[in-house]
Structures are given as structure tokens and as C-alpha cells.
Symmetry: C2
């Protein structure tokens, strides 16, 4: 949560950006908050409220200029630039993420990979040589890494996160199933796949009880 | 959101369950809401509030019986049983998920895999033969699949989701970067990896503006 802006608002901003990119491919022009609402599965009032956190966009009765709002949302979300990313953990999840095409196309560029397995250290993925964990303190500053994707076992996650924070990384996408203890100035986004499935089985179980 | 219970509460229930499992391995007995709060990075009052949605647990001054509360949370989250899961999409993300050890150990058992690639159809992952999308309407009911992990490209996601819903699946873990349009009775959990990174770059960018 930043500046008191709820996480759900940030998610919707991402959806609005996707929609604006689609509108632009379809010809651009202007778009009403109602149209953004339909694609974002929300209400026009919510669209206007979400955007109002960040300034005054659009004109009453005329809607938003598609290209202008797209640029503004890119700036707000911080995706009007390249982010240099290190992948810590070159296992199966790490590989799937490394090869995920949308990361690079969205400006998240993997510039370093770390793994503790001696058989992996020194081998290459694409153009990148996999480094050992001992090299973290030199590689991260040298390559000006800002974001870390943490895809190591739970037992190694806290140490790797703390060491990466100590050498200046600014944010962590955490796939390890633990809550990381890092300074509040370093945002962490947790992707816990078991908890996602538990949220599903919770919803199904509880709705069954209501019937 | 089920019965008005916020998603954040469900996440914390998952964390409490993890903590209770740890306490049990460490010997069990009783645990105070303060101890659950520390491991869940929340407050004791929040722990009590979260649990109060689901009944009366623990005794004032004595705390919670670890094993009893663990069993209750498993029932609440619907993880006191096996869930039969189909993986739709046998790409890189699909493979990483299929091999993710925590899924099976938590009771989420993959019983079917689908992919549209003719070169993959008929090949095996573990004990499972990959089926073609045409087989979805027969395989899902035959194997009593309840949950779907959807890891197909955005262009195929809605069709696959709708067809799976039509043959009775109860919930979807969606990795495709679109909002699925399915009946509200079928819960969907979205895992959008680009949006997770955007939430990070948003937080970093906005906190920079505050300084």
C-alpha cells in the first residue's frame, strides 16, 4: 500500500492500461469511463475515483484521450522505463519466469541469474551466465539491479532477500512461501500459488455452506 | 469474496494454518493470538477478528489448542480433503506448476492435462497422458475434475474457461492475462505476473515521489 492507495486500485490501473492499449490498437481517440469500466469489470464511478488519486484526467462529457491517459498510467505505474531485474533461483519456476515473454515486452529485463546449485553455476540461460550466491553482493550493484524475483526454497528466501536489500535493491517479487522480513521501504509482492488454490477451495467450500 | 469475507482475511487464514502446522511440529499445546499474530505479521486483535467470522475458537486467557485450531482452519479453507485438478495448458508455466511439489502435498492432485499442440497430445507427464482440447467435455466429468489451472495464451483462455464451466468445474486458477467472464458461482483467482511486477514498480515509483 503506497500513499494509502489500496492494492485493488493498483490492479485496476493495470487493467485500465491494458484496455487503453487495446483501444489504441483499435484506433485510439477518446474513451468514456463507462467503456474502461466494462473492460475492467468495475463501474464508471470506480474508474473516475481510481484515476482521481493521481490528478485530473479527461473532460466531463468528452471522456479521456486514449493516448494521453495511456502515457499517464504508464508513468503512474512506473512502466515508462526499463527495470533491471535479477532472478534468484534458477529452478522450474525460475525458468518459467525467465522465459515468460510478457516480462521483457513490459520493460522488465532480466540482467542476472543466481542459483546455489554448483552444477548450474557458470552455465548459461540465453545470454546470461548463472552466478553463485556468493556473487550477489558484487553482481547486483555492478549490473544496477533494481528488482529481484525470488524463486528459491523457503529455507533460503530470507537470507537472499536480506542480502539483496543490503546491496540496494528496491523491490521483491517473492515466490517463496514465507513472509519476508525486509524494511518497509522495500515493497514485496508475494505470489503464493498454494494460497491461491486455498482461496479457491475456501470460496467453493463456503459457498456450499450457504446453500 | 465469499459471505462478505475479504480476500485479505482468507490470505491470513492460510498464514495462520502454516503457523499452526509449525507449532505442531514444535510440540503443539496451546498458542496465544499474539503468537499467531507475530508469524502472520498482523495484530492479535486481527487474528481474533479473522477467526470470529467462523465461530468461537480458543478460551480467554488460555489461547487456542494448536491441533484443534489447525483442523478447524483446514475445514474452513476446504483443505481437509483432496481436490481433483486439471491443468489446461502444458507450456512452461504449466510444467512448473505441474512439478510444484507443494500442490500435491496440500491435497491438490492433478488428474488431467490438456494442450492444443498436436505434438504434445498423447505424450505423458508423469503418469498422465496429455489430452487435446476436444476431449475436455469428456475427460473433465469422467475424472471428476473440480478445479482448473488455466495456463493457456490469452486468446484461448475464455473459450477453455467457458467450456470447463459448462461441464461442471467449480473454480479456476487463472494465469492468462485476461479477466475471465464466468458465472459468479465459479470463483476465479487470477495470477497475473506482469501485474505483480507493475504493483512493485508502482510502489517504488510513488514512494520516490513522496521523498
Amino acid at each position: 500500500v503506497t500513499r494509502g492507495i489500496p492494492e485493488s486500485t493498483v490492479r485496476r490501473l493495470s487493467h485500465y492500461l491494458r484496455s487503453l492499449e487495446e483501444f489504441e490498437r483499435e484506433g485510439g481517440g477518446t474513451v468514456a469511463s463507462e467503456e474502461l469500466a466494462v473492460r475492467g469489470q468495475t463501474t464508471a464511478a470506480q474508474v473516475r475515483k481510481d484515476l482521481s488519486h493521481f490528478g485530473s484526467f479527461g473532460k466531463r462529457g468528452l471522456g479521456y484521450q486514449v493516448d494521453e491517459l495511456r502515457v499517464s498510467l504508464q508513468q503512474i505505474l512506473g512502466v515508462d522505463r526499463i527495470w533491471r531485474v535479477a532472478l534468484i533461483g534458477a529452478g522450474r519456476i525460475g525458468l518459467a519466469l525467465f522465459e515468460y515473454p510478457a516480462f521483457k515486452s513490459r520493460g522488465y529485463e532480466c540482467v542476472a541469474i543466481f542459483d546455489a546449485d554448483p552444477e548450474k553455476i557458470g552455465t548459461t540461460w540465453g545470454d546470461l551466465v548463472i552466478s553463485g550466491p556468493d556473487e550477489l553482493e558484487s553482481v547486483i550493484p555492478d549490473l544496477m539491479v533494481e528488482l529481484v524475483i525470488l524463486a528459491v526454497p523457503a529455507s533460503a528466501a530470507q537470507e537472499m532477500a536480506s542480502r539483496a536489500v543490503d546491496v540496494g535493491i528496491k523491490g521483491i517479487l517473492n515466490f517463496a512461501p514465507i513472509r519476508l522480513d525486509v524494511p518497509s521501504s522495500v515493497p514485496v509482492e508475494d505470489v503464493n500459488l498454494v494460497m491461491e488454490l486455498e482461496a479457491l477451495s475456501f470460496a467453493i467450500t463456503q459457498s456450499g455452506r450457504d446453500e
